[in-house]
Amino acid sequence: MINPVNPNSTSMLPAGLRGPWTLLKKELLRFWRVAFQTVAAPVITALLYLLIFSHVLESHVQVYDGVPYTAFLIPGLIMMSVLQNAFANSSSSLIQSKVMGNIVFILLTPLTHVQFFLAFLIASIIRGLVVGFCIYLVAMWFVDLSVANFWWIAAFALLGSALLGTFGIIAGIWADRFDQMAAFQNFIIMPLTFLSGVFYSIHSLPPFWQKVSLLNPFFYMIDGFRYGFFGKGDVSPMFSLIVVGGAFLVLALITLKMLKSGYKLRS
């Protein structure tokens, strides 16, 4: 029998990793080639939110004692962009590949469903983090943002982008058309993001809406991420981490099951 491992390889990577590494590289290049749209545009959008909301509300709202509203707003905006871009990366790549038909180039390869998942997931995380970091750099012009605990920031940025990257894979596999994908974005991602406490603390809401907010996983990602900056939050960061981590695990298992069965990819 023929040994399928290439004996002439000069690559430093083990043979088993070269395939998923190539897919990851391709996914990274895909968004980097259009960085004006995938990185610069969300940074500008976040900046506009920052300018308008901070200008209107700075002198009227103070959520935490001693924390100006603009400073309160920035971590929420960063996390919102991280989440939205992580989702956009995997979902748009998959729906485009499916509609264009070029997904077949990946389906014909020996990549396993786990490798497929990891490549799309890591690319989504990286895009989310790149956008988030760029917004952080720009926001530094407006306010001197303290960091109470870097590790909470890192943990929520990573887990949040992983959760939304995974959700994007599910959406990309499920949707057959661009309008179905737009529905995902407009009717699930946007409402959950805007009602998650990016612009306010849920303690400022009526009791009923506070309880509703606690059912929104986005709330825990924003609140935990913000905790890393101010050392203050609406709920315990550990509880938020458990909720976000649990949600990621559930979605990751669903995604892996979909990929293994070939749902909507192989018939």
């Binding site: 290439n6 690559s11 590494w21 190539t22 290049l29 264009m100 014909l108 020996p110």
Partner: protein, 309 residues
């Protein structure tokens, strides 16, 4: 004895109520140039998609050089290069990048660049290597599609309608390239609508109809089995004598094609026409070709056309 390149055993495929493949058994040896022929809906692409792992069979199994395409899909896909029928491409990258990615998915790195250059040259794509895929013409995209299937240097290459919609010049160029691959010991499996393509290139042919293989033999044997002459007579609008009617294979615009077993039947037909006072306006005598075999076995209604679509 070496393992067969492809072994297909008892493959069935149901799409709901449709029984698309009805028990396909086929063995293709290493180094063969094999054609899979059949009209639309015969099940060729379904069979290819099962081989490629894009569709799961309802029953049966397929192996590529001994590796099962389902349970040992990683090994099987390493050995297989598939050229899809649709002209698909990734608009974000240029030709060389796409080939490197495709090779990379199979675990190949920069050491594979020499082979990538060879493919580019063989397919006349060298000067387009740095051109974005979306800027290529249809013919160039078709070449790039073939190049992608070959990027990881697979010993078994499957081409699903590789020359559909390409001009004559490019078709000849692709034929020469595929023949060269076969000479370099790649096993080639071709699905095609163009019967002359199978006749010109392939050593062995399987003809499919309604999910079954209705003929499987070497191209030469199939032609021998159906050896005979075709007499094409331009008669205009006439009523043929019943004695020769059974020999008529095809009628179009007053041109009657008679299938003859031997030369002696020519005189029989002409004599019957003379007796019936039917004037022969023009006459041609042709050898039987793969199209005749195909039409006899598949019984396609579109008699007389070179490409059955």
């Amino acid at each position: 004895m070496s393992l067969p390149a492809i072994k297909i055993s008892g493959i069935h495929k149901h799409f709901g109520a449709l029984h698309a493949l009805r028990g396909i058994d086929l063995t293709i040896e290493q180094g063969e140039f094999f054609a899979l022929l059949g009209p639309n809906g015969a099940g060729k692409s379904t069979l290819i998609n099962i081989l490629a792992g894009l569709i799961s069979p309802s029953a049966g199994n397929i192996s590529v050089m001994g590796f099962d395409v389902q349970s040992q899909y990683q090994q099987a896909r390493q050995l297989l290069g598939v050229v899809p029928q649709e002209l698909v491409f990734d608009p974000f990258f240029n030709v060389r990048e796409m080939l490197r990615f495709q090779a990379g998915y199979f675990g190949r790195g920069r050491e594979n660049d020499v082979w990538v250059d060879e493919i580019l040259e063989g397919l006349g794509l060298t000067d387009k290597a740095n051109t974005n895929m979306r800027k290529l013409s249809g013919g160039m995209k078709r070449r790039a599609l073939i190049a992608q299937a070959l990027a990881h240097k697979p010993p078994v290459v499957v081409l699903d309608e590789p020359t559909a919609g390409v001009d004559v010049e490019l078709r000849q160029m692709l034929w020469e390239f595929i023949k060269k691959l076969n000479r370099e010991s790649h096993t080639i499996i071709l699905t095609t609508h163009y019967l002359e393509e199978a006749e010109a290139l392939c050593n062995r042919v399987a003809m499919m109809k309604q999910g079954k293989v209705v003929a499987l033999d070497s191209t030469a044997n199939l032609l021998n089995k159906f050896s005979g002459k075709h007499l094409r007579l331009t008669l205009g609008s006439v009523v043929l004598p019943s004695s020769v009617e059974q020999l008529v294979r095809h009628v179009e615009n007053g041109i009657y094609t008679f299938a003859l077993d031997d030369m002696a039947q020519i005189e029989f037909v002409l004599s019957a026409l003379r007796t019936a006072d039917i004037k022969v306006l023009d006459m041609q005598l042709n050898e039987a070709d793969l199209e005749d075999v195909f039409l006899s076995l598949v019984g396609n209604a579109q008699n007389g056309v070179r490409s059955v679509s």
